[in-house]
Structures are given as C-alpha cells and as structure tokens.
C-alpha cells in the first residue's frame, strides 16, 4: 500500500484489540460518554433557563440572559477549557481547591467549560423555539388566569422543546464531538486514548480510524434516539410533517 510513494505502510489493525490498548479505548469511550452526559444535562438546564429568560417580558431579565449567551458563545471552547482549568480554580478557597485537585480537577474543569459553553448555545436554540410560538399562546395563557411563570412552564416551554428537537440534536452532537478537546487539559477521553495508542505503536491510521469510527457510531445512535423522541412526543396537528405547504 502506498508503495509507489517510496513509503511502505503496513496495516496492523490488531493493535486496537491487543492489551492494554483495548482497555485504553474502552476507558476512553466511557470517559467521553460520562463527560458528554454530565455536560449535556447541565448545558440543557442552563439553556432552558437562559433561553426562556431571553424571551421574558421584562428587560433586566432579558439583559442578564443576553450577557450570559454573548459572553460564553463568543469565546472558543479551547480557551474556555484553559480558563476553567488554569484560571477559575485559582479563585476558590484553598480547601475547596485542594479537594478538586484530589478529585479529578481535569474532568470537572472540562465539565464546567463544555456545559457552560454549550449552555449558551442551547439557550439560543431554545429562544428560537419559544419565539416560533405565536404571541397569542402567551396571551391566551395569561388571560386564562395563569401567571407568566406558569404560562412558560405549562404551555410555552413544552411546545418549544418539541419544536427544537432537530437543532438540539445538532447541538448535542457538537457537544459530544467537542469533548475531544478535553484532552488538551489531560482528560483521558477517546481521542486521548487513540493518540496514546498511536504514540506507543506508531500505527496512526489504525488508531485514529478507530476513534473516528467510534465517534460516528456514538453520533448516529444519538441522532436516532433524538428522531425517536421527536416522533414519540410530537403533538398531532401542531407541526406539519412531510406534507407540502399549500400555496
């Protein structure tokens, strides 16, 4: 293979399941998933809170949420990772700092960076969902005696969450893929494991192909779950699916 380039590359896929490489890969996948899952939960929560706040009929609340979104989404995630690892822990009291250092500070810094960054992006997705709902829904809710908070909780957000499944899927996939950046602050996730196999065996193609394939499988599973959720929770008659617009 590639012999005509004057180089010979011998494929040796068995490096992937030779020990301890397989254990590294499995631990890498588990760390990636744990990182993605915890970050996703926090990011979605932040997204719902700030996304709703950005549409609130009260200016100071909107301003706070806008500040959060613009501040966190406009700085590259890599910079946030360094900030949360090298910068943020330094302002905590020594006792808390030491506790974090002894309990996986790399992992929790990555969780903070990814969830806060993606939270700001989820907030925009959710704002778009809320603003797609006609104003009359809010007015109807208010006139039926619900408070603003109740109208949001019972009417606006449940509908918005359904509207935003496709863009939210997109964001979730981005979040999963962005966990690979955590290797820059020493989190031994999937890309880290693949690079490690590469340095030990000099089999770059095999190691990186395995990482690429695993990411692909993970992302495809997430999007199929999200498609299932979209179909399962669809409100009949609310959104036209697969039908042609009548003009």
């Amino acid at each position: 293979m590639f012999g005509f380039l004057g180089m010979t590359y011998e494929f040796k896929w068995s490096v992937l399941w030779a020990q301890p490489h397989l254990t590294w890969l499995i631990n890498g996948v588990l760390t990636s998933l744990r990182l993605a899952l915890i970050s996703w939960c926090i990011a979605v929560l932040l997204g719902i809170i700030f996304g709703a706040m950005r549409t609130a009929p009260f200016r100071p609340i909107r301003a706070i949420a806008t500040c959060y979104v613009e501040f966190f989404r406009n700085v590259p995630l890599l910079v946030w990772l360094f900030f949360w690892y090298f910068g943020a822990p330094e302002v905590f009291p020594e006792v808390i700092r030491q506790w974090f250092i002894r309990h996986g500070i790399e992992f929790w810094s990555a969780v903070a960076a990814i969830s806060v960054y993606h939270g700001s992006r989820f907030a925009e997705v959710i704002r778009a969902g809320i603003q797609a709902i006609p104003k009359t829904q809010l007015e109807a809710g208010l006139s039926s005696g619900l408070s603003v908070f109740e109208t949001y909780r019972l009417i606006i957000i449940p509908i918005a969450l359904r509207l935003i499944v496709p863009p939210a899927t997109n964001e979730s996939l981005n979040l999963l893929k962005n966990t690979s950046l955590a290797m820059t602050i020493g989190v031994a996730e999937l890309t880290f494991a693949a690079r490690q196999i590469e340095t030990y065996t000099a089999k770059a193609v095999e190691a990186l192909t395995s990482a690429a394939f695993i990411y692909l499988v993970l992302c495809l599973s997430i999007s199929s779950v999200m498609n299932w959720i979209e179909a399962k929770f669809a409100i009949p008659g609310l959104i036209a699916r697969g039908t042609r617009a009548e003009h």
């Binding site: 005509f4 380039l5 004057g6 030491q98 250092i101 290797m183 820059t184 020493g186 690079r195 340095t199």
Partner: protein
Amino acid sequence: MKRFGLALLLTLLVLGLAGNAFAQGATLEKIKNSGVFTVGVRNGSPPFSFINKQNERAGFSNDLAALVHKGIEEKVGKQIKMEMKESSPATRIPLLTSMSVDLITETMTDTRARRDSIDFSLTFFMTGADFIVKKGSPIKGAKDIAGKRIGTQQGSTNERILREKYSKAELVTLPDQAAAFMALQQGKLDAYCNDAIQLWGLKYKSATPDQWEVVGDWISYEPYGMAMRKNDSDFRAAVNNALMEAIEGGEYFKLYEKWFGPKSDVPYPMSQAFKTFLLSQVVPK
C-alpha cells in the same frame, strides 16, 4: 471532481518517481553535487536548537552541526553551503527518508526502535528523566511518586516509562511543557517529569529559580544522537569523525561550556561519567 482526482493521482505519481530517483545511500555524493548540506533543527528546544532573541538560529546542537559541516567540506574537498530546516518529532524521520534533510541534530534520543528506520551518530549528549518539584517537596525521586499527581508531556518517552513502571502514580498528561509547568506552579501537580536537561532549562527560565528543585536519578536514559538515512556508512563515518575530532580537539568542550557552563542560561555541569563516556567513544586514528 474527476479532474481534481486525476491531478491528485498525477502529483502522487510524480512525487513517487522523484522519491525513487534518489536511491538510498551516497549522501556525500548528493552534497558534493548540489553544494548544499541540509540540517534539520528546531525552533523551540533551547539550549540545543532554537531561535534566539535576535531571531537567529542558535543552540548547542546547531553549533555541533556547524563542526560536522566543516568536516564534510574537508571530506568532499569543496565549499558547501549549510541550510537549516525546521523539524519536529513527528516530521524528522520522513524529512530524512524523503531526502529533504541530510542530518537531524536537535534533541533526538537514539533508540533501538528508531534504528529500524534510521541510523544514528555517536552520542553527543546524555540525559535522563527526572522530576521538577517545589523546593521542600517530599518527592525526592521515583520511589516517592506513588499516589502523587505527576505531570508528563503527551507522547513523550517519559510518559510511557511512568505508565509502565510506576503505575501507582496518578499521571496527568498535558500537551506541552508550558501547560505542565503552569499546572505545577498552581499546585495541580506534585511533580513534573521530563528529560533532566529540559527541567533545568525550565528552572532557570522561571521567574523564581530558587523555588524549584530537580530531583531523582534518571528513571530513563536518553542518549541524544544525530540522525541520518540508513545504510550510508561513508556519510555516517564523516559525521562521526567530525564529532570525534571535536571531542578530541576540545571544541566540543568549549561549546559545552558556552551552552551549559556556569555563565550560560542553563548551567548543567558535565558529570565525570559522561566525560569518560564521551572520550571513550573516540576511537584511535
């Protein structure tokens, strides 16, 4: 798209042919014919090979390469131009095999695995992995690192040794020296492990050199050699002869004094063992 594919294929073919046109061996011939001797160096590995504050290439390895250059000029009997090219751990072997450079100097550790694909000169520097710690740290060497947070550089030989031989230490693998030292300064690491000479460099370059201590007695052995294409014994002999003459004639020790002496940026006294080893690499005339 089709045309792009064709262009790509043609480029690859041309590259492949060009690669084959220069068969292995006969580096001296190539240098003589082209009048150029190309050396692979580094931008950022002080004090071995780096770009200094005056924006010039400098370093211990670069100066040794200049001595080799002189030796080659004598050998081929004409003036040769020396060119320097940036190389890195990832590119240095391909640079050699593709004929882009004739010699790699910088900080390359001679290993048996690497000898499968390239040849090395005699050893011109010797170091080993140690630990840098805050002054007064309980860590005095590899025996004290169990359960401690030890920093290493991604993809380094040191990381591998720690993982294999000292599995009780908690390894924190960071992308580069700057990140690792920052984490050490912030107390996120108990020690940082790298080649001793690089740790001494870190210590002297830090804002507070007195606060840091380099401890341990080499958990690894890293002999630096100059790398060249395999199976070219004429060229290899020319490089080795130049190094032997430099050791025998004392130029080597002058350069050592310049880069590692008490007045240098990275004072690193030469051990008696290393001096004996260097001198015994010089075979009789």
